[in-house]
Symmetry: C2
Subunit: 399 residues, 2 copies
């Protein structure tokens, strides 16, 4: 089967290579490069135990440095590796910079994989050389493949943009299927665009888009030490720089939200061991926070997630989880609808059949709606089922 | 094998019978009765969606009513059953009271099982009659068996007490193996004693003991709609009433803590699908809350729990979880020791072998100690591994 094509915005190059990190021989190192220094914003894991590379990225983003290259290695997270880990990040960035003839300050390096083991530097540095040699305007899919770990498919999305006559692109790729939880305990995500846009606007656009996508998904509730969302805008399309919120900005934000939501949903669909895609909507909540808490608590509940896996018609667990979310709820008002089928309505008699619910829960997509009937706030979050596949993958991750 | 004996304190009777609720024919209804109205204190689930019986119990405890009987049915939680559920609780309590010749206000009824389906009242009421007929001073083990659901063994513990020449007992039984999490999202626990003690002291003793036992365990982080800890003191041993904190009170509290910890550990050991017992200690924390947050976040982490199940030498996940606990942590100070084996020491080089760690993780008991070296606070919590057994049990619970 021909490889899916992923367009790169103007002025971007990418590659994905095998640096000898994955025992399987699969691609395990990716490089994303912009010909011009790009305005770059991002969000980094909230975990207080951050990988050396995550700390380095955080510092670079805070300093507002323009970025030209991002190197990503898999199999090793370079987290909890002490001072050595920090030195290895700098050494890697310096090597990338030397090969590309740019400054080391314009390089981010990201790592994902096992925690607590030093980076295999000879392999990493040899890999960098190879990754630079393979850079190409057609390399986006190679890069998207090379950042995967336990993922079973590549996660990519792109949208064309029209900036007052200038054609441009927004292209995204993501990896992640475990340790997935909101607030940047998520995954690695790279968003590239050739639109010219000011840093404050770019930052605001990213925060808005992440709030409606990567902050709305959960796989297991664990929060990674490494994960980051990076958005690079190199301005190569030559549009009049976006500096205020006009039509072009709205178009850009809309595309960004769509790409982020595509990627976020793909991450959940590929959740470790997942067999089903689950969307949970809390509506009629008193506040946005209440809606989020209830939807997310249901989405996180191992008992809800195992019931969905087994297609066990045990809808009571949805209300059980809603009840301990720490949000306002009145069991005599709330209703629960799964796959369009009313199961609970404020404790009044509802006639539902176990067989029909079992059939609904057996589908690949399960849609849960809890209506609290207390207000107007509404939120949807996305998750997957909890399966023996998850146990299997995570019981032998390093072995 | 002869059934284990569980002593009942003076003036208590118990029974466990099959009321036709469990398809397997196993005991499914328990009755605990005191000949005298007993000073009774307790704690009820913090879930905002409470079962009808949990709400009824909460009200009775708040009113400070003396209690004489507790009826427990399994297979049906009588939760989210609307007004009908509340009526069924009152009807059941009234029936128990009539058979025993006591007032309905002195009866608590508890339910555990599937949420959202009305109680099968004809079976429940017929069961009550049978349970009353079978009451006996030797019925404690029968009752302990009859409250079980997905449990694989009975959970009991007892301590003899000497109250200035008066011999008495403290006897406890518990059920619970899923939806286990602190703050009374726990299980059903019954603690009976013939000691004479004032309500305020009894209440204080229970809160102290629960704080060090049932609030220190987690199986899956889910919080039940039904669960309660009930402590009944009927005063039958004839001691001088305990009304202040003297030697006798200290003895009582010590026994209560031991019994609660025995039961809490048994619940974790019997966690749904569990193959291992895991204790997690956070020491050197800045505050008790920090120690608790870190120990509990590690104990809850699906990635830690699956690694322990698979004996995967992936200790980095322990630090990953500690990092997102929301407590103070410095990776350059913290150390991680599993089964007495040092694995991480502030990022300094530690030589540890995967083979040795794998062996340690293969044992039935796994002991994790995280030393934060930031202060003096210390807490230990207990959990179990996350296994395909958990998925299996919960993917087909109602079927």
């Amino acid at each position: 089967m021909a490889k899916q094509h992923l367009p790169l915005p103007l002025g971007f190059l990418a590659s994905g290579i095998h640096a000898g990190l994955k025992k399987t021989g699969k691609p395990d190192m990716a490089l994303l490069v912009s010909r011009f220094p790009a305005v770059t914003v991002g969000m980094v894991t909230t975990n207080r135990v951050k990988a050396a590379s995550a700390k380095h990225t955080e510092k670079a983003l805070k300093a507002g440095k323009k970025i030209q290259a991002v190197l990503v290695n898999t199999t090793n997270a370079n987290a909890l590796t002490g001072k050595q880990g920090e030195k290895d990040v700098l050494k890697t960035a310096k090597t990338v910079a030397e090969y590309l003839g740019i400054t080391a300050e314009a390089v981010l390096t990201h790592s994902t994989g096992v925690i607590g083991i030093p980076l295999p530097m000879p392999k990493i540095l040899a890999g960098v050389r190879q990754a630079v040699l393979r850079l190409s305007g057609n390399g986006a899919m190679d890069a998207a493949e090379a950042i995967l770990t336990t993922d079973t498919f590549t996660k990519v999305s792109a949208r064309p943009l029209m900036m007052v006559g200038k054609k441009s692109w927004l292209t995204g790729m993501a990896k992640g299927s475990g340790m997935i939880h909101p607030n940047m305990g998520t995954m690695l995500v790279y968003l590239l665009t050739d639109v010219q846009i000011s840093r404050p606007l770019l930052n605001q656009a990213l925060r808005e888009a992440v709030g409606e996508s990567f902050h709305r998904i959960t796989v297991d509730g664990d929060v990674s030490t490494n994960d980051s969302v990076i958005l690079m805008a190199n301005g190569a399309c030559g549009n009049k720089p976006l500096t205020y919120k006009g039509e072009c900005y709205e178009q850009f934000v809309k595309a960004l939200k769509e790409v982020c939501l595509d990627l976020a949903k793909a991450v959940v669909r590929d959740g470790e061991g997942a067999t089903k895609f689950v969307s949970v909507t809390a509506t009629g909540a008193k506040s946005d926070l209440d809606a989020f808490k209830i939807a997310m608590t249901i989405a996180k509940s191992p008992l809800v997630k195992t019931a969905i896996f087994g297609a066990d018609p045990n809808w009571g667990r949805v209300m059980m989880a809603a009840g301990y979310a720490g949000a306002s709820i009145d069991e005599f008002k709330t209703s629960v609808v799964i796959g369009g089928y009313l199961l609970y309505n404020g404790g009044k008699k509802v006639s539902w059949s176990r067989e029909k619910l079992k059939k609904i829960l057996s589908r690949k997509n399960v849609d849960i709606v809890v209506d609290l009937k207390l207000g107007k706030a509404k939120t949807t979050v996305y998750t997957c089922d909890l399966t023996d596949g998850y146990i299997d993958i995570n019981g032998r991750y390093t072995t």
